[in-house]
């Protein structure tokens, strides 16, 4: 799966399952999803479960930090670094 495909899957999942109020358009790769309130703590927990199940990447508790999940681009970078 390419970076773009992963980014699109994550953005769609955020819109479909996580964002409290679905945004007009899926968030772009550099949108600060936590700061903008698109992803709260429970949303982040679900997003990690999605990454593990859908993409087969295990996330360790110590990796759950802002720099790895601040944007979709950061999450893609984390996923690719673990592959």
């Amino acid at each position: 799966m390419t970076d773009d495909q992963i980014a699109r899957e994550l953005a769609d999942y955020i819109v479909r399952e996580i964002a409290p109020t679905p945004p007009a358009a899926p968030p772009g790769p550099d949108v600060p999803i936590i700061e903008q309130g698109l992803v709260d703590s429970l949303g982040l927990f679900k997003l990690i479960a999605f990454v593990e199940e859908r993409l087969g990447v295990k996330i360790a508790p110590e990796e759950i930090v802002l720099e790895n999940f601040a944007t979709i681009a950061a999450i893609v970078k984390l996923i690719q670094s673990r592959r």
Binding site: P20, L42, L44, L66
Partner: protein, 308 residues
């Protein structure tokens, strides 16, 4: 102050100063280890004071107004004045004794506690499916963890705990850049604990966060967070509810209610919503039985929700 600078300007001020003196004396006894000798007497004294209208209006004017408004607008049964008295007593007692109670040894604490429904918790833990306790905020709620410890039950993970650790700033809890990853790590740890058959705790009546189910509750359209239900469903854990009540005589009751109804064959979202609604129904009954146990902050929060 009667025992400090200045002279009391009125009889009410003199009485208030005497109350503060008593409270400080009780608090210093609580720290010195001679506390239990005056524990019951302090409840009696606080109870008598809280029943006096002058004390309500002099020592606790804003709190009295809040409790009266809350009792009226939440549509709770019983005399508002009875709730005012008990709420003032419990808050004065909590400010004096809560820390001391948390530090008590096993025998001393268990002498002051009655547990109702302990068998529900034991049975759920024995089933090794993971047990999630959905708590509610009461003035003496932290004593539940002391009780667990003295009963030899591993407390497991408590969600939201990081925010209250020493050294945390109040702003940390509201800054999403700090709070979201911290809470997600806790959810992760709780999820692992539940999957391993352990125990996790969540306060189901918290109101922070964006994902909420709106429910008609005590004359308000109130949002309930679904975190506890999402966790329970994700880990397929048993959900119980629990609360700590303090009596006017200083004796506590740990109340653990039977497990929630859950049907694993239903879609996830429906299971979550059912658990949240059952929690709200249990909480409403609890408030109707004894809302004086609520912290004042929770009364204020409830009144901020739109009226039905």
């Amino acid at each position: 102050m009667i025992f400090g600078p200045g002279f009391p300007r009125s009889q009410d001020e003199l009485r208030e100063n005497l109350f503060r003196l008593f409270q400080r004396s009780f608090q210093s006894l609580a720290k010195s280890g001679h506390s239990l000798k005056v524990y019951r007497s302090s409840f009696e004294l606080y109870g008598r004071l809280a029943a006096e209208r002058w004390a309500q209006l002099t020592i606790w004017p804003e709190e009295t107004a809040l409790i009266e408004r809350f009792a009226r607008e939440a549509g709770l049964p019983g005399e508002p004045q009875a709730m005012v008295q008990k709420s003032l007593l419990l808050h004065a007692a909590a400010a004096t004794w809560r820390r001391m109670l948390q530090g008590l040894g096993r025998d001393a604490l268990l002498r002051l506690c009655v547990a109702r429904g302990e068998e529900h918790l034991r049975a759920a833990l024995d089933a090794k499916r993971g047990v999630l306790i959905a708590h509610c905020h009461t003035v003496f709620a932290p004593l539940f963890w002391s009780w667990l410890e003295h009963k030899g039950i591993a407390p497991g993970v408590t969600l939201g705990h990081w925010a209250w650790e020493q050294g945390r700033k109040a702003g940390d809890r509201t800054d999403p850049k700090r709070a979201v990853p911290e809470m997600a790590r806790e959810l992760f740890a709780a999820s692992q604990t539940l999957r391993a058959g352990g125990l996790a705790h969540v306060f189901g009546d918290g109101v922070q966060g964006s994902r909420q189910t709106e429910i008609a509750f005590c004359n308000r359209r109130r949002g309930f967070r679904s975190t506890f239900a999402e966790m329970a469903v994700a880990a397929d854990a048993t959900t119980l509810s629990a609360a700590v009540s303090m009596g006017a005589d200083g004796r506590m009751t740990m109340e653990i209610e039977p497990s929630f109804t859950d049907d694993a064959s239903l879609p996830r979202a429906e299971r979550v919503e059912r658990l949240v609604r059952e929690y709200a129904a249990r909480l409403e009954k609890r408030w109707q039985r004894d809302a004086a146990q609520l912290p004042w902050g929770d009364m204020t929060t409830h009144l901020r929700f739109p009226a039905l």
